[in-house]
């Protein structure tokens, strides 16, 4: 079979396609976006009519995937780590209902927060839900784990998490393909009751999930992706790596023999026996994890009765936060590293910025004028390109917490007496998590101005479609915003005066106003022009 050069995200997508998947569901989010983007561009997916359009948010995506699994087909739901917070309710409960057709929950974590507001580790969620978790260490494993994950999921009727991290999601390497499997045939669950989580049934289902734990553990112990090298020359330390940390360990020894016993862990629940064996054999443990000290925490938390030293992120051997890299691992091993010259002092930071010609820039300039007289602290915002409105020269916004929080935080502030209380949210973010917050505002007749920046795309993640595209006014009207207080304009230098006037009029209106500055994202426009020129 041919070898493809794929990002970790793409390898997982191709693996799922070859393993007979019928549908992908997800919402864009760095570093997970390329999974579905790859599928959308895949001839194989298009020819086989694999579901590949975006969902409104991670929660709807997870539920839809569960519905496809219910009907017997293989499915995958994709998201970034914080997206799993949004999908947490169906995620936790899907462990209780179980799945029918193979169901993979692909979550891409972002340690070091390259493009995120936190660096939570999704393996915690896997442990929390008591489901098997796979953590590939390289691109080939991303591909292979799609096959393996579906089999595991179907064997136990349980959703399986595949946890990626930025450096794997966004790194490219050669991937060898396998023979393509056909899609599953439609088959409803044998037991209809299990999706009916009334307390009496849920209690039984939960017991069943608990009873399955030893099986999940045995699968992890015998996983083809875990390896246990317990014979070595030096037992002064035993090393445990999880996911791609294994590569940094190999790199530290330049691919040569490693003098210490090593456990390479890529499947959970944590394989107890090999860890006990390692602990018994060695004088100390050294644990390398990409992300939070999840394994280290379990091992330290009363896992052993002994008192041998355990080193990792919790004792300062490695940084508590941030991603690993070859140097951190080498230093922790006590190996010599020889960095190059320091960065010269004249090098200054180059933070990301709104693009030249970005419509958001015009919206911010006019909004700044409109709120000038009230001083700082009146504009709440959200997650997207427009979060860069925090940076100079705009300095417009004062908050960025989670998808949709601009509207509800503005409402809470208005409830408590802040005037004016303004929310700035992107069009795609609005369709993800803004509508319910707006309904709260309507219900309470809150005195807020909601600015929906409509650049007609999901900009920050590279320009994806979203579900409310072209329907913003209708949605606002439908939710109950008064027609005369839905104001749309074209954000452009020439229109700043008019824009400021409209903002001011809606600030003056005591009630819910929606202002929609609408102009296409300049990046989308460039891509569209290029495409049209190519035709």
């Amino acid at each position: 079979m041919e070898k493809l050069m794929l990002l970790g995200d793409e390898a997982l997508a191709q693996g799922a396609l070859d393993a007979g998947i019928s549908g992908f569901y997800g919402y864009p989010g760095t570093p997970s976006t390329e999974i579905i983007e790859y599928v959308q561009g895949s001839k194989q997916a298009i020819e086989n009519k694999i579901h590949r359009t975006w969902s409104s948010n991670e929660k709807t995506a997870m539920e839809t995937a569960l519905g496809m699994s219910y009907n017997g087909l293989r499915t995958m739901v994709t998201m970034k780590h914080v997206g799993l917070n949004v999908a947490a309710d169906p995620f936790m409960n899907s462990a209780i209902t179980g799945s029918n057709g193979g169901m993979l929950v692909a979550v891409a974590d972002d340690p070091s927060m390259h493009s995120s507001q936190n660096e939570q580790d999704s393996r915690n969620y896997g442990n929390f839900a008591l489901i098997p978790v796979l953590e590939p260490s390289n691109q080939q494993e991303c591909y292979d784990m799609a096959f393996y994950g579906f089999e595991l999921s179907e064997k136990y009727h349980i959703p399986v998490m595949i946890r990626l991290t930025t450096r794997l999601s966004h790194s490219r390497s050669g991937v060898k393909r396998r023979a393509v499997l056909p899609q599953n045939k439609l088959k409803q669950p044998d037991d209809f009751l299990r999706f009916m989580l009334l307390p009496a049934i849920a209690r039984k289902r939960y017991k069943k999930l608990l009873e399955a734990q030893p099986d999940f553990l045995l699968e992890a112990v015998n996983s083809p992706f875990n390896s246990y090298t317990l014979e070595a020359e030096d037992y002064s330390r035993g090393i445990i790596t999880t996911g791609l940390a294994y590569n940094y360990l190999l790199e530290a020894f330049d691919g040569g023999p490693i003098p210490y016993p090593v456990l390479k862990l890529c499947q959970y629940p944590l394989p107890v026996d090999p860890i006990h064996e390692l602990y018994d054999k060695c004088e100390s443990l050294l644990i390398f994890e990409e992300g939070m000290p999840v394994v280290e925490g379990i091992i330290r938390g009363g896992y052993f009765k002994g008192s041998k030293p355990i080193h990792g992120r919790l004792d300062g051997t490695l940084d508590r936060d941030g991603e690993l890299n070859p140097n951190k691992v080498a230093v922790a091993l006590g190996l010599k590293v020889k960095p190059g010259k320091d960065v010269p002092e004249i090098v200054v930071a180059r933070p990301p910025a709104l693009c030249v010609g970005c419509p958001h820039a015009d919206s911010f300039i006019a909004l700044n004028k409109a709120v000038e007289e009230y001083g700082r602290g009146h504009v709440f915002s959200d997650i997207g390109c427009y979060t860069l409105g925090f940076m100079p020269p705009y300095n417009t916004i004062n908050s960025c917490v989670d998808m949709g929080a601009s509207i509800t935080m503005a409402k809470g502030a208005a409830d408590s007496g802040l005037f004016p209380a303004i929310a700035v949210i992107g069009d795609s973010t609005f369709s993800h998590s803004g509508m319910t917050g707006l309904l709260d505002c309507i219900y309470d007749k809150a005195n807020v101005v909601i600015v929906i920046l409509d650049n007609s795309t999901t900009g920050m993640t590279g320009g994806q479609d979203y579900t409310a595209l072209g329907k913003l006014e209708e949605i606002c009207l439908g939710l109950g915003v008064e027609k005369e207080h839905i104001r749309t304009f074209y954000p452009f230098v020439k229109n700043h005066e008019e824009m400021t006037r409209i903002y001011k009029e809606e600030i003056a209106y005591e009630g819910v106003s929606v202002v929609i500055p609408r102009r296409e994202c300049v990046q989308t426009m460039k891509r569209r022009n290029k495409k049209e020129a190519g035709k």
Partner: protein
């Protein structure tokens, strides 16, 4: 043989295209490779870098270790300096001298050049000017690549072959422009 290359620039300047071409040429040799990219927020005009690792042996880490890079290949002078801790003491810095100024506190250019010239192995030149001169304005990145390939041990024909494949869908004019850019860069390096 192993080549560890840090590609540096500002979001949108075309470093991923350079990576794609080098990766393609390496694959043609039957080499292995790993290429870590930057996606998401910093692509909006922020500093971006890519770790490109090419080898005829198995490669483990997706990231290059500090002090191990054979080359920093940069399309912007300040960005070339940002990754110096990665550079091996015998490594090369190949960089465009034309600054990309999208921040108010961009440092003095001459001071930047002085720092670059203090590096043992460096090639510092105005790739934008050369691209303009040969009427291939948008191929500045390929001019910089041209200046680098000799120091990476690649022959012009290998890279030209990859350019033809990678730009195949963009038409003859774009292929021609990029081949001219490669040749012009090669003369500098």
């Amino acid at each position: 043989m192993k080549k560890d290359i840090i590609l540096a620039g500002v979001g949108g300047q075309g470093i991923l295209t350079i990576a794609t071409i080098l990766a393609h040429a390496a694959l043609n040799r039957g080499w292995q490779l790993k290429q870590a990219e930057v996606h998401g927020m910093s692509q909006r005009g922020g500093d971006v870098q890519s770790h490109l690792r090419l080898s005829d042996q198995k490669i483990y880490s997706d990231l290059i270790a500090l002090g191990q890079a054979d080359m920093i290949l940069s399309v912007e002078p300040m960005e070339a300096l940002r990754y110096l801790p990665y550079l091996h003491e015998d490594g090369w810095v190949i960089t465009n001298s034309k600054p990309f100024k999208n921040i108010p506190n961009y440092p003095d250019e001459q001071a930047l050049y002085k720092e670059i010239k203090a590096i043992k192995n460096h090639v510092l030149f105005d790739a934008d000017a050369i691209a303009k001169e040969i009427k291939a304005n948008r191929a500045m990145n390929i001019v910089v690549l041209g200046a680098a390939i000799k120091h990476l041990g690649f022959a012009e024909a290998e890279i030209a072959k990859s350019i033809k494949v990678i730009f195949a869908r963009k038409g003859e004019t774009i292929i021609e422009n990029n081949l001219r850019a490669l040749e012009a860069g090669l003369k500098i390096g």
